[in-house]
Symmetry: C2
Subunit: 207 residues, 2 copies
């Protein structure tokens, strides 16, 4: 792989961690460039003009091209690797879980973790406070669906780890920081341990 890879990130973000974990499992070297979301560093004119017009991290820079969206960046890194199933149905089913993660899991579980462990409850707006009960319920529904799925199989798709597992691991393993009582989900707990034992695994706070 000739092109230089730079991850534009905030180290506490689970979405950024997905990309670091995918790269580590595939032994692909990544440079890291940090931004502080709370300080608005991803909304500066320079960032919007060059890195991501959407004002968000992570962005994977591949040579002089920029790829936003965590799950798309993981997909680029894992192209032609065993982290993407070769079977047509399994490949689409992996994407199914990745889209589900962004729509049903991340906006509830990651957002509550961000509000409670990073922003702080005292700083939430009125509208954010009004959303908490709905996000608690939807997050618990998402975890319950994962628990039922994992009661019957070791990995989300097929017989081995895929990007679906990596992308779901990122915010599930810190769901407790959002207030979710993870002891209620033993099959999720066993799956989290399986991911932690993948060769090359790195933790969220690894430098």
């Amino acid at each position: 792989m000739a092109e230089r890879l730079i991850l534009h990130e905030d180290a506490v973000s689970g979405n950024c961690y997905k990309i670091r974990l995918t790269a580590a499992l595939l032994t692909i070297p990544l440079e890291r460039r940090g931004y502080d979301i709370l300080a608005g560093e991803t909304r500066t004119p320079a960032f919007l003009a060059t890195v991501n017009p959407n004002g968000r991290i992570p962005v994977l820079q591949i040579g002089d091209r920029f790829l936003p969206e965590s799950n798309a960046a993981c997909h680029w890194l894992a192209s032609e690797s065993a982290l993407i199933p070769s079977d047509r149905f399994d490949r689409a089913d992996m994407l199914r879980w990745m889209f589900w993660e962004q729509y049903n899991h991340e906006p509830n579980i990651a957002t509550l973790r961000f509000w409670r462990s990073i922003v702080g409850e005292a700083r939430l707006t009125e509208v954010q406070r009004a959303l908490v009960p709905g996000k608690e319920a939807a997050g618990a529904d998402a975890l319950a669906l994962m628990e039922r799925h994992l009661a019957g199989q070791d990995w989300f798709v097929g017989e081995g780890a895929s990007l679906a597992d990596i992308c779901l691991f990122a915010y599930t393993h810190v769901a407790g920081e959002g207030g979710f009582a993870m002891a209620a989900y033993p099959a999720i707990g066993a799956w989290l341990d399986r991911v932690r034992h993948l060769p090359g695994f790195v933790a969220l706070d690894a430098r």
Copy 2:
């Protein structure tokens, strides 16, 4: 293609329409099975047990297997077709727009259309009403980002139509039903017309 394909859907849903449009452009026959979301038909025990434990449509049934998530179903249908770019970066960039659609576009633009044109403003809950201004702003931001992108190129990725265009067309072409003033986005308007002229195009309300 030997397996029978059944789309479990609600005909007014843009997410379901994406799948019909992809199949039509690829001349793949689909059977359609309708459910009324407002009547709770996707939350019955039978639906949850067999079609989708997440209680949502669309679901693409492929033989006896079920594939939820609209963008994943489109990806299955388009496997090996020109609607998925062959270049590695472009393929990931297509997914980038599809993830962006589910995270930044659909929850704002599709939700406001659903609330205003299908549920009706008078029936919204207090929490939903509180969310309207934020969704109006975020939806306008999403449209502005699309407008800037399309001012420089005919299609979202590369030189031709891909799943990114199909998946973004579905709710953009009815954004006016959510209250967005689409005349403000001429590049989007020209792109919508390019999609409408793709060979095999079908409209949302085609039977």
